[in-house]
């Protein structure tokens, strides 16, 4: 009899005891690195909302803007497809919070029309610039505005990642929108499985 299986078993037990079973993500594990979900914003139905409104629901948070030419629509499309890959019963069990960091142009009505295109799980949120700055700082991200061109269009720099929070509001995983759909789906399933 060798000691190895015993040691492996003990190590697994020790790990489970302190932090729950380790999850192998395709994205980047941010458990303990990022703070819990917390915000005060305005929803696409012009209501003022906080993270408590999604308590008990796993959330995927994305910072973007509706005039975004490539990254945002690409990522939202990828998420929409990943959600379709979930078992039917699970699809309603999560929310995608699209936080617009361009409150100047993105009115709640505009956000409503934008998110409706991707699916019922998608909710548009925005806020005043200080509110958005606070939230971005909390998750170590930022955004910035380019100078407007002749037609008034300006580009906005923003995070390209999706922040995954479990149903307890704990930050778990950072997903890149360019992950293959099946791997996105796999990570979302793992997020939903955390109780």
């Amino acid at each position: 009899m060798t000691l190895k299986p015993l040691l492996t078993g003990l190590t697994a037990l020790a790990l489970t005891a302190c932090s729950g079973p380790d999850i192998e993500w395709d994205g980047t594990d941010i458990t303990g690195v990022m703070p819990d979900l917390e915000f005060e914003l305005t929803s696409e139905t012009t209501e003022s909302v906080t993270a408590a409104d999604w308590s008990g629901t796993p959330t995927l948070v994305f910072f973007g803007y509706t005039h975004c030419p490539d990254v945002c629509p690409g990522t939202m499309q990828a998420l929409s497809q990943a959600i379709e890959g979930l078992p039917e019963a699970d699809r309603e069990d999560l929310a995608v919070l699209f936080v617009s960091v361009d409150p100047e142009r993105d009115t709640p009505e505009q956000l409503d029309a934008y998110t409706a295109f991707y699916g019922p799980q998608f909710v548009g949120l925005t806020g005043t610039e200080p509110q958005l700055r606070d939230l971005a700082k909390r998750y170590r991200t930022t955004f910035g505005y380019d100078e407007p061109d002749e037609s008034g269009f300006y580009a906005v720099s923003h995070s390209s990642a999706i922040y995954g929070f479990d149903r307890n509001g704990e930050a778990r995983v950072l997903l890149r929108g360019n992950l293959p759909t099946d791997r996105l789906t796999a990570d979302v399933r793992q997020l939903l499985a955390i109780r």
């Binding site: 170590r140 930022t142 910035g144």
Partner: protein, 285 residues
Amino acid sequence: MDWAQAASALLPYRFSWLAVLFFGLAALAYGRGIRVLSEQGEPVSRWRQLAFWVGLALAYGVMHTRFDYYAQFMFFIHRGQHLVLHHLAPLLIALANPWRALAAGVPESRFKAFLGSVLGSAPVRWGYRVLQFPPVAAFLFVGLIFFWLQPEVHFYAMLSEPRYLLMNWSMWLDGLLFWWLILDPRSPLKAGTLGFGKRILLIWAVTVPQLALGARIAVSKTPLFDVYEVCGRAWPIDPMNDQLLGGILTWIPPGMMAVIAMLIVLRRLLHQGETRPLATQGDTP
């Protein structure tokens, strides 16, 4: 830019007690030390004072003002931050040779006696000797640059506040140790400091790998550090331009500073050989 805006640019993006205490105490001790030494009839030269204050202000400026915000969200500004923390600021402070002034600035008290006994204790002295053993010092200096620029390590350093602070403070403190080893003005012959030839070799040994790393980043055709994409940049900029600028900042200015440091050491080496002839010249006008 109005006054309020200018003032807010001086405020830190993330407040840190460590920075306030470290830089605040260093500034107080040095300022007082200068006065004490000058009262004792041993004034510190103007240029040395200037080198100290500029070095200290630069390091504080890149760590604890609005600059730090840009350093967190733009790769090339982050490289500029480390250029200051690891090269420029500690090099200036080492040139200023501020230790006597700093020591004179700590008021005579039980605290000073305690500080003296801690710094003079065997573990601290041995730890310092190990860190300043030339191969270890060179390995640490280059190793830290390479370590924090591994994409995976860099990613988490930018995401996690404690790791970010660890990264910046390790660069800054290591910069002070290394440049002091190189620019220590005490004579190798009389005080047993590192020989001038070895110092030049050491500068060369740390600079070549850094040049290679900087060049590799600058010429890379693929994005190496996607954390800036993931977290968002301070303003819209082509990611490849950001990386190119960052690579150049890792590559060219440290090379130039290494050359300047070599020239300073070389001058001291030559000066050392000429001590006697110079003295005799002085004797026979």
